[in-house]
């Protein structure tokens, strides 16, 4: 079994974990957005609340959600390990002059963008996830045709009425956009899936995803704030 340890402690193996967890998180973002878009439905939050209640009580979803937490930690852990190794690899003395011409800005700043995303995830979990799960605050429970349903909508609505919060949210979505501008196609390259026949498609889907999904997320609080 030594080979498993060898593989996942090698730089290539660690990158493999980053890419796989990154792609899983991309999938998660798509599902999360689909759910969030129900906030825009003009029904006083009924559809969104029913959806949120289902997501937070269904056993399978909760299992996947635990996996999601683990993957975020794994992605972050590998990011830190690789960043430390990469710093060391440059050596104690850096270059006096560096021309930024030969690579794209996003690709050089994945760590900073990732850190912004991490800060966002933590605050986001604190404000919504922790309250939904009753760790603090007192979320009200509504009665939908005899079924108790927690009123996450009102909570979201309250936060999205605060200008600074909406600003922070939109800013962090921009960080995700830039992270994925490089990250989406990069993950395929890491997996070794670089092929002239498919590179074009991967790139187009990646760039489109990097713009549309964060834009979709950002649109929701903006719409709720201004209406």
């Amino acid at each position: 079994m030594k080979w498993i340890v060898d593989m996942f402690t090698s730089t290539l193996g660690r990158k493999l974990l980053m890419a796989l967890t990154g792609l899983f998180l991309i999938l998660f973002l798509a599902v999360h957005l689909a759910g969030n878009l129900q906030l825009l439905k003009d029904d006083g939050g009924r559809a969104f609340n029913i959806y949120a209640e289902f997501m937070s009580s269904n056993a399978l979803i909760q299992f996947v959600s635990k996996g999601n937490f683990f993957f975020i930690l794994l992605h972050t852990g590998m990011a830190i390990a690789l960043t430390i190794k990469n710093r060391k690899a440059r050596g104690p003395e850096g270059y006096a002059v560096v021309s930024g011409k030969s690579s794209h800005w996003t690709s050089r700043n994945m760590g900073i963008l990732g850190t912004l995303i991490l800060v966002f995830i933590v605050t986001h979990l604190y404000h919504f996830w922790a309250q939904m799960h009753g760790y603090w605050g007192n979320i009200t429970t509504l009665d939908y045709d005899g079924k108790p349903v927690r009123d996450l909508y009102t909570l979201v609505d309250m936060w999205f009425a605060k200008g600074w919060y909406v600003g922070l949210y939109v800013f962090c979505m921009a960080a995700i956009a830039f992270h994925l501008w490089h990250g989406f196609a990069s993950a395929f390259q890491t997996l070794g899936l670089n092929h002239l026949k498919y590179n074009g498609v991967i790139n187009v889907i990646g760039k489109a995803f990097a713009i549309l999904v964060p834009a979709g997320f950002a649109f929701i609080p903006l719409k709720m704030y201004f209406s």
Binding site: R90, V98, Q189
Partner: protein, 257 residues
């Protein structure tokens, strides 16, 4: 033309280095960059100062010895080797900063000279094929499609200069190693050691202390031989499939496993 040079001077591997400024008043635009440094060194010798140590050998773009990080880019502003760079690329009165390759795996020996034997050790770990002695085989006996042969030849262009490491913000050697892995992985002659090769070369690359690839593509943009990152993807594929399917081999173990 007149130029000002800011050059990294360092006595030895363990001494502290610093930049020193030199002015050259009569530089011909037709000189190669290395010839310009020769002129500087002549001046320094005449003045009784120590000449600047820098690496070079063939001076025709094939050996990979000439290094130099010029104005923030390996081999200077063009995608060539330093020996193929000419002073006409620079403008009159320009200040040119010259630094050594910076990577823990390439320790500085003196001034601008770095020790690139880490690359040799990676090659020794697996960058070879076994050829049996005996009669010379017919060159056309093994069918190889033109496209594959071309791709292997493109990978084989790598001259081991280390510009990829120098350009990479992580000092990663992925472009070099992947070129060496690809060159053999693509061809039937490389099949016997295919899995073992990539495993050993990657292990050696990590042991030498090169960084991990973050796919910034800076290497590809600076490689004087146009090696592409498709090779890196190929190496990733080769490595993962080798790791999950090979018989376990320990690094440094001899023979075809």
């Amino acid at each position: 033309m007149k130029i000002t040079l800011k050059i990294w001077r360092q006595q030895g591997p363990n001494t502290k280095g610093h930049f020193k400024t030199y002015k050259l008043d009569h530089v011909s635009t037709d000189m190669s960059f290395l010839e310009m440094l020769d002129v500087l060194n002549q001046d320094l010798i005449k003045k009784g100062e120590e000449p600047v140590a820098f690496d070079h050998d063939c001076r025709e773009g094939i050996c990979g010895m000439c290094s130099l990080y010029i104005n923030g880019r390996p081999h200077g502003p063009l995608q060539t080797t330093t020996c193929q760079l000419h002073m006409r690329t620079f403008s009159d009165g320009e200040t040119i900063t010259i630094e050594p390759w910076r990577a823990s795996a390439f320790p500085i020996l003196k001034d601008l000279v770095v020790d690139r034997s880490a690359f040799d050790r990676i090659q020794q770990a697996g960058g070879y094929i076994s050829v049996n002695t005996g009669g010379v085989p017919d060159a056309n006996e093994i069918p190889i499609s033109k496209k594959i042969a071309d791709e292997a030849m493109d990978a084989a262009q790598c001259i081991g200069c280390g510009a990829c490491v120098a350009a990479c913000k992580n000092a990663s050697a992925m472009l070099f190693v992947s070129a060496k892995v690809s060159q053999f992985a693509l061809l039937p002659q490389g099949k016997p050691e295919r899995k073992e090769r990539v495993e050993k070369m990657v292990a050696q690359m990590d042991a030498e202390g090169f960084g991990a690839c973050t796919n910034t593509r800076a290497c590809e943009a600076e490689c004087p031989k146009g090696i592409q990152i498709t090779n890196i993807a190929r190496m990733n594929r080769e490595y993962f499939s080798a790791m999950v399917s090979s018989y376990e081999v320990a690094a440094g173990e001899g023979g075809a496993g």
